[in-house]
């Protein structure tokens, strides 16, 4: 029987003659049916063989069969010239099964007790795709592309074709191809050879909206054109390039269009041929570039970073103000600013402004006042000085200290003092005196 319902496919195993490594008994007829999963073949290697040698392995023998067909018959020892043994050479089964048949007669030589054999087997993947083309004219495994897999194989087709339901042959199909990788290659069916007539193929290149597609046609471009009084005309065969919101372009002739920058993230290519004429077709590589955003304008009293020659989709810019200035947007102060170049080529936020900071009204001084010495009131770098209401009060310490509006929005003196001074009352000094000693 070719079927072994009880045997379970395994990936490897060992076969030992009965009572190995003790001498095998007489009158044996032992059979092993080895199997591995479909798509694999069996590699059998003997680690030891010691079977009574005889001409044609007449008395004792180990027979290897595939589908009941004898592949080999062994006896003897690996180090002996007698008999017929495999030595170190492994045996490869044509399929995923192999049968071993061990037979012994009733007599064993008295001098030497033969111990039989030990063998190991393992599953080896069959590369179905490397099988030679059948000579009998029958179909090859795959009509176009064969891809080996572990335990099996799959067929595939060139671009412009699709696998038929028989999973072997390919049918022309060039519609509905969507290319969404950032770069790629596409060509007309059969290119560079002439394809079947009456083609109507559609290819759509569609990438993320922040990118634009550039087409780069190879030099070998051939789409039949018709010479008319107005010049070559794409009357029967054409390749139409369609970009959203723009007039489609029909291409034909023998001259490659070269590079076409579409400035769009979506391009549709329609290839049309009629029943007649000859077009060898075309091929192209496409690439994508990030969309540009306009260079940011300058920010007065601030800095835009990084400064680049060009800004592209997903680039970020930051704005920092000079010391003493703060970021303002829509009338409100913001702590930081960053903007991203969007997929529409616009910055996602308008640039902020830098406004000079303000330290606020200085603390009033009890029994005193203050005088601005420079700068616009309360703004960065403004300087004021406290004074006391003299002659009735005087400054503690007696020294006038100037306060400057610093970048941290605090009024600070040269000694980094933040607190305002104190006015001390003047005692015992009336502005007028009683008439004292008079003569």
């Amino acid at each position: 029987s070719l079927l072994f319902p009880d045997s379970k496919p395994v990936m490897h195993g060992e076969v030992l003659s009965p009572e190995y490594p003790q001498p095998y008994p007489p009158n044996l007829q032992k059979r092993w049916d080895l199997s591995v999963p479909n798509g694999y073949q069996i590699r059998l290697a003997f680690s030891h063989m010691d079977i009574e040698a005889s001409a044609g392995c007449y008395y004792d023998s180990l027979t290897v069969l595939y589908n009941e067909k004898v592949l080999a018959k062994f006896c003897g020892q690996e180090n002996s010239a007698d008999g017929h043994h495999p030595g170190n050479q492994p045996i490869l089964s044509p399929g995923n099964r192999l049968t071993l048949l061990f037979q012994t007669d009733s007599n064993n030589p008295e001098k030497h007790q033969n111990v039989g054999f030990s063998a190991q087997y393992q599953a080896i993947d069959i590369d179905e795709c490397s099988a030679p083309e059948p000579r009998d004219g029958s179909d090859s495994l795959c009509a176009q592309i064969c891809l080996n897999t572990l335990g099996s194989y799959i067929c595939s087709c060139h671009h412009g074709y699709e696998l038929r339901s028989d999973q072997r042959t390919c049918a022309l199909s060039c519609t509905g191809g969507i290319f969404d990788e950032p770069q790629g290659h596409l060509s007309s069916p059969g290119y560079p050879n002439s394809p079947p007539h009456a083609l109507s193929c559609q290819y759509v290149i569609s990438v993320d909206s922040g990118f634009t597609v550039t087409l780069n046609f190879s030099d070998n471009f051939h789409v039949e054109s018709v010479d008319t009084q107005q010049g070559p005309n794409c009357l029967y065969h054409w390749l139409q390039v369609t970009v959203p919101h723009r007039e489609p372009i029909k291409l034909c002739g023998a001259k490659s269009p070269g590079v076409i920058e579409t400035n769009s993230n979506t391009v549709r290519l329609d290839y049309h041929t009629d029943d007649e004429g000859l077009s060898n077709g075309w091929s192209l590589d496409y690439s994508t570039q990030r969309v540009n955003c306009p260079p940011p304008s300058k920010v007065a009293q601030g800095r835009v970073t990084p400064m680049l020659a060009e800004y592209f989709y997903r680039d970020y810019i930051f704005v920092r103000c000079d010391q003493g200035y703060k970021l303002m947007m829509d009338g409100h102060e913001i702590k930081s600013f960053s903007a991203m170049c969007q997929n529409n080529g616009q910055w996602h936020l308008p640039l902020p402004e830098c406004h000079i900071i303000d330290c606020g009204e200085p603390e009033p001084l009890l029994n005193g006042g203050l005088t601005f010495l420079s700068g616009f009131q309360n703004q960065y770098r403004s300087v004021f000085q406290y004074h006391c209401n003299e002659p009735f009060y005087s400054l503690l310490g007696g020294v006038n200290v100037s306060f400057t509006c610093e970048a941290d929005r605090k009024w600070r003196s040269h000694n980094d003092v933040v607190v305002s001074p104190t006015c001390l009352p003047v005692c015992g000094k009336p502005i007028k005196h009683v008439s004292g000693i008079q003569r």
Binding site: N367, F392, Y393, P425, V426, C427, G428, K429, P430, I431, K432, H433, V434, S435, G436, I437
Partner: protein, 249 residues
């Protein structure tokens, strides 16, 4: 003030007029919340008078005007050593009144300085005593002034004052003792003196371009009498107590 003159505006800007239980007296501004005065009249039957009984006036030389802007006491701090139930012991006659609200100083209100460290009370030096008290003495007639008066009286040597005190005691019983916390000032011949109504007011000495509070009008035997000097609390003896009281309050 006996034998004195009207004080021109803004000449004695530390002068305070105090009314305690309707009795006119004086005081002096020493800080924007503090008035220094004497303890007598602020203690009634061994207890401090209520702050509500005290009206404080300053900033004007005319009584009619000064009465228009009373200030009020927040607390009264008499010297703990003042103990004078029978009006015969004026030792430690000093007190501080804390105002409810601070005053802003200007030409008409200005503090008088406290005595400098090691203040010198030199005999014969002229001191300025001022007040709204009695100006004339007659047989049966006193005249109270509505205008701030001042007079310059010299500081009297301790020995001379002590000698006078002996004679006062010969003339009258219940004359208070003189202590080291007091000094005398006045004219041997009388004629210039402080008097009733000036009590508790300032006796100022002028030194280094500043007036400082040398004394507080405390007591005396009569006013302007020959050989009867005025007795003043010696403020320099109380600097520690004054600073401590103000800091703690």
């Amino acid at each position: 003030i006996i034998g004195g003159s009207d004080a021109p505006d803004n000449t004695i800007p530390w002068q305070v007029m105090l009314n305690v239980n309707q009795n006119r007296g004086g005081g002096m501004v020493i800080a924007d919340r503090w008035v220094m005065t004497a303890a007598h009249n602020l203690i009634d039957k061994n207890s401090k008078v209520a702050t509500e009984a005290i009206q404080i006036y300053m900033g004007h030389n005319n009584v009619d005007t000064i009465l228009q802007t009373p200030l009020y006491a927040a607390s009264v701090h008499t010297h703990p050593g003042y103990n004078n139930p029978n009006n015969v012991d004026y030792n430690n006659d000093i007190a501080l009144i804390k105002l409810q609200d601070p005053v802003t100083f200007n030409a008409s209100i200005m503090p008088i300085c406290l005595p400098p460290e090691g203040a010198a009370y030199e005999t014969g030096i002229m001191g300025l005593v001022s007040g709204f008290g009695i100006t004339k003495l007659g047989e049966q007639r006193f005249a109270l002034t509505n205008k701030l008066k001042y007079v310059l009286v010299p500081l009297v040597a301790e020995e001379e004052c002590a000698k006078s005190a002996v004679s006062w005691k010969q003339e009258s019983a219940n004359i208070p003792d003189l202590t080291n916390n007091m000094f005398c000032a006045g004219m041997r011949e009388g004629t210039k003196d402080s008097c009733q109504g000036d009590s508790r007011g300032p006796y100022a000495l002028y030194d280094h371009q500043r007036y400082w509070a040398a004394g507080i009008v405390s007591w005396g035997v009569g006013c302007g009498k020959k050989g009867a000097y005025g007795v003043y609390t010696r403020v320099a003896n109380y600097l520690d107590w004054i600073n401590k009281t103000m800091q703690e309050n």
